[in-house]
Amino acid sequence: MSLDIDGIGIAFGGIKAVDDVSFTARPGEVTSIIGPNGAGKTTLFNLVSGVYRASAGRVRIDGQDVTGLPGHALARRGMARTFQNLQVFPQMSALDNVMTGCHMQEKSNLLADLLGLASAHRETARSRDAAMAALQRAGLAELAHRPASEMSYGQLKRLEIARALVTGCTILLLDEPAAGCNAVETREVDDLIHAIAAEGKTVVLIEHDMRMVMRISSHIVVLDQGRKIAEGGPEEIRNNPHVIAAYLGAHGAAEAEAAAHV
């Protein structure tokens, strides 16, 4: 499903953290949001996923207005996300963390559970299998029974991706999924995101790793001080003088250039 952001904005104490930002993310593509620290990327995700209430603008999923819906209602419309600052369930095992993502897929109601109906048991077993498969996909199968509180930052990032995947989402917002990952893990995350988009999901990615962004994005939106300063394909963005000045700099541009040739 396509995600339309139209003129969205919010201010904190007079400072416009996100100001009149519009773009469209399409199914089957990775749309990346880049920009310097404090540009408003995470805030944009918080607006889109219903964590913050936008003071201006609209969010649409396939043309349907979903602005201001609470988080669980957005999840029901197919939106899932991961967090820059990790939002896991620390007391639970990795598997249980991912199983919470199955909540919407599970149909059994309280009564069926209370009566111990076989259907309720099957449902739980099905969720466990789906969660296990997602952990496998995120490269965390061996850690399934480890409490989340004992996992590393990079592992928790991938745990959040696994949890988002089992929700059956069609729109996936990823906030710096490769932060805290080593080079090998980064490459795995990179492949995973690519595969997720190839399934036809709409992926929106925030990432500082320019090699990754240039390699897997179809479309890039550049934010600076809350405003969109550029938008386009990787080639276009890499050569845009405003983007180089505001964010990429000489080093970043070279790195992005190098990425284009691997």
């Binding site: 369930f89 620390p90 919470t100 919407m104 559970d113 739980t124 988002a164």
Partner: protein, 290 residues
Amino acid sequence: MSELLQFLVSGITVGAIYAAIALGFTLIYNASGVVNFAQGEFVVIGGMTAAALIGAGVPVWIAAPLAVIAGMLVGVLLYRLAIKPAREAPLVSLIIITIGASIFLRGAMQAVFDKQIHRYDGFSGDAPLRVGGATILPQSLWIVGGSIAVFAFLAWFLNRTRAGRGIKATASNRMAAALVGINTGRAMNLSFALSAAIGALAGVLATPVTFTSYDVGVLMALKGFSATMLGGVGSPLGALAGGLLIGLIEALTAGYISSDYKDASAFIVILLVLFLRPQGLFGARITERV
């Protein structure tokens, strides 16, 4: 010997009541992080409603479930009217709201019922059973059985049902729970309803032994809270163990030393345990990432 047995029997009976109250605390805490100081009032609502119905000639097997349902409805109202509107407020404010609610409920109970002390006959009569030189009231068996049943139910419910897992996820991280599609408002509502029902059930079972009146809720809440702290906040097993332990300490102190010291000795044990194990007997220790 038979003396000791007698003290143990009464300790376990009282302890099982504390345990049931502590389980109610645990459930709400697990869903919301709120320590619900109105928990004791649900015990009173259960006991007083059952007493009023039985006094009006309603058979006990109808009066008891009705009293539990009454407690559950008040629990839902407490959540809807007092907690939900302030959901975004800091936890401390929510806890203070529950203290206010308990004062309000106490006043309301005085108006709806009366200021008398009430009791009704035990479910299986009041003829004591003699076991190895000690006498056991049949109602004690109801109380202990009830607490164990509540414990088993909660342990199963929180881990094995969709709604229970939703409550656990809501407790652990409300934002993350909402964003995987869990209706966190409904999870909190459910936890208040269940917790109030558990409190009311404790009241219904206990009243033939402990009697009830509009103002015993404070003491009940205090004891249940102590049991929760002793066992480890958030752990159903801890609530059960903490409740029984406090009941036993009280009964043994009252029996061998003096009933004047029973509350004090229970609190000394709690303090000692918390010095040595701040997370309580069964509480998990989580080091927050910073």
